[in-house]
């Protein structure tokens, strides 16, 4: 505190003024000298005054009357009174009005200067404290706003992205602030149910900004019909694009497929998933064999799932670590295994279990982590999923178009995929589009490779490298008048897509092709076409292949 401090002295006696000002100047304190109330008032605009030293009786009145004004203008500056009287009731009134202390006349210069210095020092400390407190209050206010925003984001996520489904029971116990737990489930276009329980590091806003992109991605990818492994990779990619690298997202992903009669589980950095049979007996636990999303680069994430027959399991419990950490029972800190056993006692009643676990909180006074406990009743879920089969809307309105490709334009690798995008835009299901891609590719490749380029039809399987070499060599002889003609036609009443492909080549004999390729896998890819098409005819007279895909 070596700043020069400024003190206002109000004293009508010239010799006292001199003694006081000298004593203070020795301390390095600057003094403004005034001798009447009026003179003092004129200095009140000076914001650098840090302390007031006032004589009580002045020619133009008592300095008492200045005190309220000083308090208002200089709330942090101490006021000291110089007086020779001992009227204690007057002194008490002055203390009440805000005076900090009294200096008795006759003045002892050394005592006075030390006292003033001490008050100045203390006032500095008080000011620093006051500012720190103001700062603290504004930080608290910001934090509250952030928490409110985090809750808003969380609520928004839940309302826009989650659907409740019979058989998925969830109980949550919030610590009062958003801690990053989220449970979300969505149905894939293929009818599978996919469930994610996530727990983001941190809480409040930090957790919300980690959770948000994960939930949005999860929903978009499930809707798109991606496999569970592909969803996992997308989550990881999205995390590395949008979330700071020190924020992680532990999660459990579960896929229930009625058509395959399987349940697949992936656990990344979460507590064990508990598996129960029909008698509610714990039969297995899925430990976290993977790390939370965000720790490993996407390519290093294992997409290996633990898969069980759906009808071998009746209940499944999974939860966030808030449920099992820091729990005590009968004066004993519980191990995770103990806690798992307690949770396993009532696998179908998450509300009860969560209340029970909360009562075992080691320190009920300190704020606990969020607890989320989810229980799947697979009996109900199997029923639920079979009661609501995937509605497969077939596109209305017929369409048909045909096109020709000549010479080098036959070699465009992206052509079929662009056609698939076009077909997809009519609303065909993903599995139909996949089938269309393969069939269309095979038809075009047959015409180009075998019809036009004259590559042996079994070479692709027998020796892919020779196939590539032959193809490259043949491509160099490709001329602009060689072509294929493709036509597509959708008849909504027949729910069928008809494809015709013909080429300017010499054609082939279908029976011969199928017979010569004894395992039927190759031979112009005809095995594939036979498998994927509902009808498949080759007309040797027009050198045209007709294929029908039923929706």
């Amino acid at each position: 505190m070596n700043k020069i401090s400024k003190v206002l002295l109000l004293e009508d006696n010239a010799s006292t003024r001199l003694i006081v000002s000298k004593a203070l100047q020795i301390k390095g304190i600057e003094v403004i000298l005034t001798s009447t109330l009026e003179e003092a008032r004129q200095c009140f605009g000076d914001n650098s005054i840090k302390l007031f030293l006032l004589d009580v009786h002045l020619p133009d009145g008592m300095s008492d009357e200045l005190i309220p004004q000083i308090r208002r203008l200089y709330p942090m500056a101490p006021i000291l009174m110089i007086t020779a009287e001992y009227d204690s009731s007057h002194m008490a009134r002055l203390f009440d009005a805000g005076v900090k202390d009294f200096i008795q006349k006759p003045i002892l210069p050394l005592l006075l200067s030390n006292k003033v210095q001490s008050f100045l020092d203390w006032s500095e400390v008080e000011l620093a404290l006051f500012r720190a407190n103001e700062n603290y209050l504004s930080i608290m206010q910001e934090k509250e706003q952030e928490e409110a925003l985090a809750f808003f984001v969380y609520d928004h996520i839940l309302h826009t992205h989650s659907c409740s489904i019979e058989g998925v029971d969830v109980a949550t116990l919030s610590s009062g602030r958003f801690c990053g737990d989220i449970l979300i489930s969505a149905k894939s276009p293929n009818g599978n149910l996919i469930i994610m329980l996530g727990d983001a590091t941190g809480h409040g806003m930090a957790a919300a900004i980690t959770v948000y992109p994960m939930v949005v991605t999860f929903n978009a990818m499930v809707k798109k019909g991606l496999s569970l492994g592909a969803i996992l990779r997308e989550l990881s990619d999205k995390h590395s694009e949008t979330v700071p690298s020190n924020r992680f997202f532990a999660c459990i992903l579960i896929e229930i497929s009625l058509s395959k009669n399987t349940i697949s589980i992936w656990n990344g950095g979460m507590p064990n998933v508990l598996i129960f049979d029909h008698h509610k007996q714990l039969i297995d636990q899925i430990t976290a064999k993977n790390m939370a999303i965000g720790i490993l680069p996407t390519n290093d994430i294992s997409t290996k799932f633990e898969t069980f027959p759906l009808n071998s399991i009746e209940y499944l419990s999974f939860f966030s670590d808030g449920l099992i950490e820091n729990k005590r029972h009968k004066e004993q800190t519980l191990s995770f295994d103990d806690v798992y056993s307690i949770i396993a006692e009532f696998p179908s009643d998450p509300e009860y279990t969560i209340t029970r676990m909360h009562a075992m909180e080691a320190d009920l006074n300190s704020s606990h982590d969020d607890m989320t406990l989810c229980s799947l009743n697979l009996g109900i879920l199997r029923q639920e999923l079979s009661d609501s089969p995937v509605a497969k809307h077939s596109p209305k309105g017929n369409f048909s178009f045909s096109f020709e490709l000549f010479g080098d334009s036959l070699l465009n690798d992206h052509f079929t995929l662009k056609l698939v995008e076009l077909i997809e835009s009519y609303g065909f299901s993903q599995s139909f589009c996949q089938r269309f891609f393969t069939v269309m590719t095979e038809l075009i490749v047959n015409s180009v490779d075998h019809g036009i380029l004259n590559i042996q039809s079994n070479l692709k399987k027998a020796d892919f490298i020779s196939y590539l070499d032959n193809r490259n060599a043949a491509i160099s002889t490709l001329s602009d008048n060689q072509k294929i003609t493709v036509s597509l036609s959708w008849e909504s009443s027949k729910k069928s897509l008809f494809l015709c492909v013909s080429d300017s080549g010499n054609g082939y004999q279908i029976d011969k092709e199928i017979n010569t390729s004894n395992d039927q896998t190759y031979g112009r890819g005809l095995g594939i076409l036979n498998t994927l098409c509902n009808d498949f005819i080759y007309d040797q007279n027009t050198n045209t292949t007709h294929a029908t895909l039923r929706y």
């Binding site: 290996k304 993903q430 996949q434 393969t438 590719t441 490749v445 399987k461 490298i465 196939y467």
Partner: protein, 92 residues
């Protein structure tokens, strides 16, 4: 030499992928004999994919290596099943 290497297959595993795929498995084969082809993302396949996988299988058997296929689904699974690829590769 025994560490497992996972090749993450792209959305499209067809003729256009052959350059990428050949490079990926040749690189892997320099370091390991155990390969996993992760089909999680694969949606589109054609008969070239079968040709490329036969080639990979041939290289692996010559070195008594092993290859597994992970998370195969959709048309890709139908086509590999039709071609009896479970005789060449193990599914996981």
């Amino acid at each position: 030499m025994s560490e497992l290497i996972i090749i993450n297959m792209p959305e499209r595993f067809d003729f256009s992928t052959h350059g990428w795929f050949t490079k990926a498995y040749e690189e892997a084969l320099r370091k390991t004999k155990k390969i996993v082809l992760d089909f999680s993302r694969v949606s589109y396949v054609d008969s070239s994919a079968l040709g490329m996988m036969v080639l990979l299988h041939r290289q692996l058997s010559a070195n008594s290596g092993h290859c597994a296929i992970r998370n195969i689904h959709g048309t890709a699974k139908d086509i590999l099943d039709m071609a009896n690829f479970e005789k060449l590769f193990s599914y996981e």
